[in-house]
């Protein structure tokens, strides 16, 4: 009991000193706001944006679907030694071929020189056995967003990677902490939220957990910068910054339709004509896949302990159940039959 009071008093004194210092320094309410909401960790991490970049030479990519292949190509073009890993040997071969073809095309179109192409081709390796990727400086997993698969892979990578390796997960559906929960060395696990197609995206969200080390943050920021993207640090909260904002935008648009205030095309018309966004929310949802958007909203709702603000849309559920999935099924909020013909 005595100990408890001592600690409590100690913490109170420390926090008041911190507050006094900050108010004396700048008399800036913004600073007080930071202290109050504990944004100080973000401020502190922002220093790494300008610190020395970690020397990363070898990167392993786990999972060579569309996202993995696209990321691999970008990394190879920027001079990293990239090892591709996938249990499916056919998929792996196809991915390597696709990267090589794209590099050759780039050389033919003179976007890169022949020397650059030949040098890049040397940088590609492929493996089907997970322990083989253990010697890489950074390991990035890009497997589909299935929590159990991601957890198992991260546990496995953590067991086999060399001590100094940094392990990045590209999850967008789950928190980095939940994906890393089976690993032992939490300090080297970090989230790297990429946006596809990578070529045209401008930002990468970097998501440290409560236990991620400075070195891992530095490595993730360094990769983002070397890919020519703006790294943005986000707290490890479901959806991070961008997916959370996207969901909020979509959910409200869906609620307006569900409340019969307007049709989806009216909303899209208002949003685009009044230049609130280049695309209307319903057009965007159709492009991204209604099943995907619905699955995401259900996940965030569960992860937020059923907070009513994140209540998924009934309309979206029904459309998904009836196979109205957007552009991929030629029918969502809009019809794409003619486009298909």
């Amino acid at each position: 009991m005595c100990n408890f009071f001592t600690i409590a008093i100690h913490r109170f004194v420390l926090s008041s000193i911190k507050l006094q210092k900050s108010t004396k320094k700048t008399t800036d309410k913004f600073h007080i706001l930071y202290c109050f909401f504990d944004l100080s960790f973000v401020r502190c991490e922002r220093k790494y944006f300008y610190s020395k970049t970690m020397d990363i030479k070898t990167i392993a990519l786990i999972g060579v679907g569309k996202k993995g292949t696209s990321l691999a190509r970008q990394l190879i073009e920027r001079g990293f030694d990239v090892t591709l890993y996938d249990v499916n040997a056919t998929l792996l071969r196809r991915s390597v071929e696709s990267i090589k073809n794209e590099l050759r095309q780039s050389a033919q179109q003179r976007r890169i020189t022949t020397e650059q192409m030949q040098e890049a081709l040397i940088h590609i390796k492929s493996k089907t056995s997970l322990p083989d990727v253990g010697s890489c400086d950074v390991i990035i997993e890009t497997v589909p967003d299935n929590l159990q698969i991601k957890k198992d892979i991260l546990k496995h990578l953590d067991n086999h990677a060399k001590n100094s390796s940094v392990i990045c997960t590209t999850t967008s559906l789950f928190t980095v902490s939940s994906v890393a929960s089976l690993a032992k060395n939490f300090h080297r696990i970090i989230g790297l939220h990429l946006f596809f197609p990578i070529e045209s995206s401008q930002v990468i969200e970097v998501i440290p957990t409560l236990r991620t080390s400075k070195e891992a943050i530095e490595a993730a920021i360094s990769i983002a910068r070397q890919l020519g993207k703006e790294p943005i640090l986000s707290k490890d909260i479901p959806g991070f910054i961008i997916e959370r904002a996207r969901q909020a935008w979509f959910l409200e648009a869906l609620r307006i339709v569900e409340d019969d205030v307007a049709d989806h095309d009216q909303i899209d018309r208002l949003v685009t004509m009044n230049k609130l966004h280049p695309e209307g929310p319903f057009h965007q949802m159709d492009q991204q896949g209604l099943d995907h958007i619905f699955q995401e909203s259900v996940q965030y709702f569960q992860q937020r302990f059923y907070d009513s603000r994140f209540l998924p849309s009934l309309l979206l559920q029904q459309m998904t159940e009836l196979g109205l999935l957007g552009k991929q099924s030629h029918q969502g909020f809009y019809s794409y039959e003619e486009e298909n013909q």
Binding site: L39, K235, A245, E252, K275
Partner: protein
């Protein structure tokens, strides 16, 4: 001809011109009144304005063609009531318009925080009131939301449409529900972001950068909230909360604080720098 006589004749000509153009009476709060007044004046309407409380600062000085009045002009062709934050003041304004204006003069009233049908019930000639989506920056856009009440005849809507045509704005007819479309969509979005800001997800500038660069919004939600003003956002969210589904619209504590104090960190930073 000397300078003074020239300016005198110019003023006379202006007066003549303004008398030949229909008079628009705009009453309400800043910055909505200024926005609507500038828009109408640029299309040649003779504009008379009245603020609920005199605005502390306007984004740009109003041209001389816009005059401030304390009484409703008799020759008003169309009247605007643009108050979102104070329903009692709004009710008084609408009732005053209902008493002073001829029964055929349409009243375009902001229905962002209270439905147009509810407002129509405050006056005798209910058919002449039509709701519009009046929210900061939205009155200058090419598509204006219009919410007819259950009493609105087609003729009144036609008058409204004809009024907006020379302003190069089309109208979008929407259901008469609080928040309409754009204010509801934008305020709810901003509210979500302020919840995230309260959870220390990232600093405000980073949030705006992530959303503009990652989601292709032209302006980030934090910057938007400063443009709209926290009182307008808070009033809209409160109106949504009063609706059928209050559990879907809890208001972010930061928005409540900033609406009450009228301050935000960028203003504070500017003051400190000065």
């Amino acid at each position: 001809m000397n300078k003074s006589s020239h300016s005198h004749s110019a003023t006379k000509q202006k007066e003549k011109q303004s008398s030949s153009h229909p008079t628009v009476y705009i009453c309400g709060e800043s910055p909505l009144v200024e926005e609507a007044a500038l828009r109408c004046a640029s299309s040649g309407y003779a504009v008379k304005v009245h603020w609920n409380t005199s605005p502390t600062e306007t984004a740009q000085p109003l041209p001389t063609s816009i005059t401030t009045v304390n009484t409703i002009p008799d020759n008003t062709a169309i009247a605007f009531e643009l108050t979102n934050t104070d329903i009692d003041v709004k009710k008084k304004n609408i009732q005053k318009m209902g008493e002073h204006l001829p029964p055929t003069t349409p009243i375009l009233s902001s229905s962002v925080t209270v439905t147009a049908t509810e407002q129509a019930n405050w006056i005798e000639h209910k058919y002449r009131l039509v709701g519009i989506g009046a929210f900061p920056t939205l009155l200058s856009k090419p598509l204006i939301e219009v919410a007819p009440t259950i009493y609105t005849p087609k003729e009144t809507l036609q008058v409204v449409s004809n009024f907006f045509a020379p302003l190069h704005s089309a109208i979008e007819i929407v259901e008469d529900q609080v928040g309409l479309i754009q204010p509801r969509l934008l305020c709810s979005f901003i509210n979500h972001i302020y919840f995230a800001l309260g959870e220390s997800i990232a600093p405000p500038d980073d949030i705006d950068r992530a959303i503009t660069q990652g989601l292709q919004f032209s302006v980030g939600p934090i910057a938007l909230s400063e443009t709209f003003g926290f009182k307008q956002i808070y009033a809209t969210l409160q109106a949504l909360q009063r609706g059928n589904t209050p559990h879907l619209y809890p208001i972010a504590p930061l928005i409540q604080q900033f609406a009450a104090t009228g301050r935000w960190w960028k203003n504070q930073q500017k003051e400190n720098n000065a």
